[in-house]
Symmetry: C2
Subunit: 229 residues, 2 copies
């Protein structure tokens, strides 16, 4: 019973219901291929309204946990692994930043060799803009993002590009933004800027190892600034 009166959980009701139904499935109560109780019945069983249950079922349908057949019923699908959508918010910022360090360090090695002059210029321009933003007391969030994405994109592999992008953007989820904010001072951004400059310098020297080290150092330092403090 998870009525709205209690409300100790901040998450939306449909998410709680979806989790609960997922539990029923992974617990083996409703194995793959089996049919869930009718919406009306299941809603009553969980102590929620049918529209709310329906919202949860749609979420589960989207992530492939169930299949809804009109007039027939709701059936459990094979893929019972935890949803990718729910993943992001639950993970620790530390793990996220370590993952970025590992992956982006590897990516920049690939990028170093073939990076054309045009891309180097783009990166220089981004850092110039970043410097201006900091000078004017603003947070160069967009420049930071662009710097990392331009490097990833230069490898010419869309899969790698998307992974780097999604890991970066995950840091800027509402939760993370809230958690951060107080710890971002002009000074910390000044440090970040010089780290970016070190990365660019390595790229300009076509030194893959130096670039790798600089990127790794930057992301680990960034992790410390963001998470600890």
């Amino acid at each position: 019973m998870i009525g709205q009166t209690t409300m100790t959980d901040a998450r939306r009701l449909y998410q709680q219901i979806a989790d609960q139904v997922r539990q029923l499935i992974v617990n083996g109560q409703y194995p793959p291929g089996s049919r869930l109780p009718a919406e009306r019945e299941l809603a009553q069983q969980l102590g929620v309204s049918r529209p709310s249950l329906r919202e949860a079922l749609i979420a589960l349908e989207i992530d492939g946990t169930i299949e809804i057949r009109m007039g027939s019923g709701v059936y459990v699908l094979n893929a019972a692994k935890p949803s990718t959508a729910g993943r992001s918010l639950g993970e620790s910022p530390t793990e996220l930043m370590q993952a970025r360090a590992v992956i982006e360090s590897a990516v920049i090695v690939q990028a170093t060799a073939t990076m054309p002059e045009a891309t180097l210029k783009t990166l220089r321009d981004i850092l110039t803009a970043m410097r201006d933003e900091i000078t004017q007391g603003r947070k160069p969030l967009e420049q930071d993002r662009q710097f990392h994405l331009v490097i990833a994109e230069s490898v010419g592999n869309s899969v790698l590009h998307e992974i780097v992008a999604s890991l970066f953007d995950e840091r800027h989820s509402p939760m993370s933004d809230h958690m951060r904010g107080r710890f971002e001072t002009p000074e910390t951004w000044q440090f970040a800027l010089s780290e970016h400059e070190a990365i660019l310098a390595a790229l300009e020297m076509k030194d893959p190892l130096a670039a790798q080290v600089a990127m790794h150092a930057h992301l680990m330092a960034s992790s410390r600034r963001w998470v600890e403090n």
Copy 2:
């Protein structure tokens, strides 16, 4: 106006509504950062009920198109790119395998240093099972998967683990399975086995560089076997 009376489209109403709202966004009518009309208003504007619109908004929220802030409104998010779900099928197998080579090579470096004996034994057992499968003329798909995932998991970073897993599983989408299949012979699997053994040997010698090279060579060779031929 897409009332339920017409019903020429077989898809559920919330999907049609979600598409329609997506259109409003990509058409520039509601650019990123802007706020959508209130639920009541938008529902009336689209000629549907509020619960149905809400179902559509939840779908859009899940795929990251919008952000719903209670009491405030529904906001358009930056990510206007086609949903991640649709991504997988559109990408070239070559890019996928290259991405795996880059990432898993970096991951195994992290894994080498701290890998406990127990994990090494697990990997040995997996390769034994793989050998048996091949001998009996079967495809050691599951053993292949386990080998890579156990290594990724041993780093102790759930983000990295999930990325490696999702990239691996992407190769086994229905389309990919179809595209492959004819090119998987016992001989090719024999090659794959020996490559896995080389990786394990490097891990047992605690040699990060050798492990990195072996993993990279394996995935690139795997790419050639799978894509070309």
